[in-house]
């Protein structure tokens, strides 16, 4: 009898342990389920070619969700991530065009793009962590500022990116689509980052800022570094969107900001900070991409697509919350 009574609890404890170690598991299950749904509605959507297309379209959102994750770790938020993306997008497109579009120009423009992303992150970090303004409003304000800057650089969308750049992004290397190399490098990068002292410190700050301060952690520099990482990954997201759309658009990222926040939450991270994984955010971004693709393949009439997308995100969010609650109970 005693054994019978103990087993279910032990099993529940096992799931809980597993979820504590890998909080992104529910997101992984949801991604698998969505892939399955895609397959049901359109077997063709699971082909190598379609998946490559999906990845190259949503790589920008994946990067942006990862960018957002590092600030959410520390209990902050960045509503300007999408605007940083737009700004870097137009900046590199204009620079590449001006410098002739050769390999050297492209690389130099990308390097400057990274610096620009870091600079934007630094501005956010100083405004939020050093000046202690409310993150949600302060980064909303800087987002308007960054958008204004982007519009100054390129008032109307449409300047094309050099062919060399977008052909590389959309093309193949040694027979393997280039986005898979990006994904592989990204995974390695995330693994390396997850072992840094900074990530542990970000999570500790997000857990309880006062406790972290009393422990002697340099709270302000740590939060600023979180925003720097966010700016860096927003710039990487801009490279991906530039490769995907092959043009500059000063307003391309505006809508993506809240998608990135949604992806972070769908991936199992806590918006209050201190808890989460970047892999979860990657899966969360894929979830959003797959929902859009399911809606498309289901043949939803275009006027209903937004409605179904919104509902689907709510359903997935609820499923994640329920899974988490069951594990914790």
């Amino acid at each position: 009898m005693a054994d019978v009574a103990v087993t279910p609890r032990a099993r529940a404890g096992g799931i809980r342990k597993l979820l504590e170690r890998y909080p992104f598991l529910p997101a992984l299950v949801i991604v698998a389920a969505l892939l399955l749904l895609n397959g049901v509605f359109s077997p063709n959507s699971l082909s190598y070619r379609s998946l490559t297309g999906l990845l190259s379209t949503y790589m920008a959102l994946i990067m942006l969700a990862i960018a957002q994750t590092y600030v959410v770790y520390a209990g902050d938020i960045d509503l300007s991530a999408g605007s940083i993306l737009s700004l870097v997008n137009v900046a590199i497109v204009v620079l590449m065009e001006r410098w002739g579009g050769g390999a050297g120009a492209v690389l130099l423009a990308l390097a400057l793009g990274l610096l620009l992303g870091l600079a934007c992150g630094l501005v956010n970090g100083i405004v939020v962590a050093a000046l202690r303004l409310q993150a949600i409003v302060a980064t909303f304000a800087t987002s308007i500022f960054f958008t204004g800057f982007a519009l100054y650089i390129l008032p109307v969308a449409g300047t094309p990116a050099p062919a060399l750049f977008w052909r590389t992004y959309g093309g193949r290397l040694l027979g393997v689509p280039f986005v898979f190399y990006i994904l592989a490098v990204l995974v390695v990068l995330l693994l390396v980052l997850s072992r840094t002292r900074l990530v542990t410190q970000l999570l500790a700050v997000g857990d309880d800022q006062q406790a972290a301060f009393q422990t002697g952690l340099p709270v302000v520099p740590v939060r600023i570094k979180g925003y720097l990482l966010c700016g860096l990954f927003s710039a990487l997201a801009a490279f991906c969107i530039t490769g995907d759309t092959a043009s500059g658009d000063p307003l391309v990222g505006g809508k993506m900001t809240l998608y990135s926040v949604a992806a972070v939450v769908l991936g199992g991270s806590a918006l209050s900070g201190g808890w989460g994984t970047v892999v979860g955010s990657l899966l969360g971004a894929l979830t959003i991409g797959l929902i859009n693709s399911v809606v498309f393949f289901m043949g939803t009439p275009s006027e209903w697509q937004n409605f179904v997308q919104g509902l689907a995100i709510l359903v997935v969010l609820m499923a994640g919350v329920l899974a988490g609650r069951r594990a914790r109970a």
């Binding site: 542990t200 857990d207 309880d208 009393q214 002697g216």
Partner: protein, 501 residues
Amino acid sequence: MSKLKLSGVSKAYGATLALRRGDLEVMAGEVHVLMGSNGSGKSTLCKIIAGSVRPDAGKILIDNRPITITGPRSARGHGIGIFYQELSLAAHRSVEENICLAALPIKSHLFVDRALLKQRAARYIRLFENVAGEGFSADALVGNLRPDQRQLVEIMKALASEAPILIFDEPTSALDRAQVDRFFEILRDLKRQDRGIIFISHRMDEIKAVGDRVTIIRDGETITTLNLAETDAASVIRLMVGGSGDMPASQSSAPAVVDLADGTAMIVHDLSGVGFRNVSFDVAKGEILGFGGLHGQGQSALLRAIFGAGSISSGEVLIGDSRLDASSPRDAIRRGCAYVSGDRGRDGVISGRPIIENVTPIHYLRDRLMIARPSKLRDKVAPALESMHTKFASLFHPISSLSGGNQQKVIIARWLIDRPDVLLLDDPTKGIDLSAKADLFALIRQLAAEGLGILLYSSEDAELLGNANRILVFNGGSVSRELTGADRTRYNLYQAAYEAA
């Protein structure tokens, strides 16, 4: 040899002086006990040493050299480690990460050295081997641990600083006997290593067991430092209380016996819940029943539970003849309970809204009003506010325009339009000025005279002695002593509160 010396350290928060004049000298190789009643400034003093509070004035010397501490990091740099009473742990991090959080071992300048971290944390975890209890392991998340285990992690974290000066601010409050014994063995080891240790505890037996000298703080001022071997508990308590400890002046001024002819207002029978257990009492109509004892011994938890804002696991509460099973504050209010908390910001004030809206919500609930008519409401609101001499410019000014005392009067006024049967006061005068306090207690006594049953928890003993007809002293979540009649003296109150749990 003097390890740490503080002289004339002070700290004010706005108008309230948290620490008037703190003096302290800790020698190498001693356990120096700090004693003082609630809010006397012990924790503030510790936080100043640890750098999380900046002092307004005063000198700090370490090894006879004057230093300035600019923050927790600089304090660590000067060799100070601290156990925080309210803990400083990251709930979602593992035990070993928490222990090493302040100085994460790194390799290649960038990465956490997991192997070294594990090894370093294991050294401190091993100190509490066999007493840490079930579920305690190096990789367990701190948030999943029991309160006593969390306290052990905070102890390990303080020890891991390997600082020559260690501060322990009530490190034993949640620990069991075996854990305390192990901790004291460790303290004695540290003493042998010539470290200077500051130790705060409210348990006289612990202080006797491990302390060498004691410094007594009263009302934010250092009174004296004594050798523990040459003194006894009674004289220490007398020093904490002040010279007039058992003089008639410090005795209760409220009448000891109230006329019980009116019947009982509330009966609580064997009530247990989170933070309190097996509490029984009854309060008569017209009686003020005081709850005394140290901070956080279950008084607030009990009041909140009766009001439906906390949880009750067993026992019953009767109002009149019927059971009050308040599942929510809403329910309790309908049944005639009123609750005023000292934490106005969290429990009382509707910030940013006009005064009139802050007075009327209970009236809405009890009379099921649907439509607000300011002209009619004004006639009800004005007398309620006037009965306490509340000062305000107009009813439509935001509540934030008032001082703390006047805000609290507004909060109390909301219960006066429709009279409750029982008034629960949870440290209602926290952070308000003296004249407002006097007005409040005049009103509370008047309400009692009109037949309300009143439960009053106050962290200031003078308020209890001055107003309560009877006093229940709480210790460790249950009532340890009831003081009635001439027993209601400052000395008895302290003694009952500081008795070993």
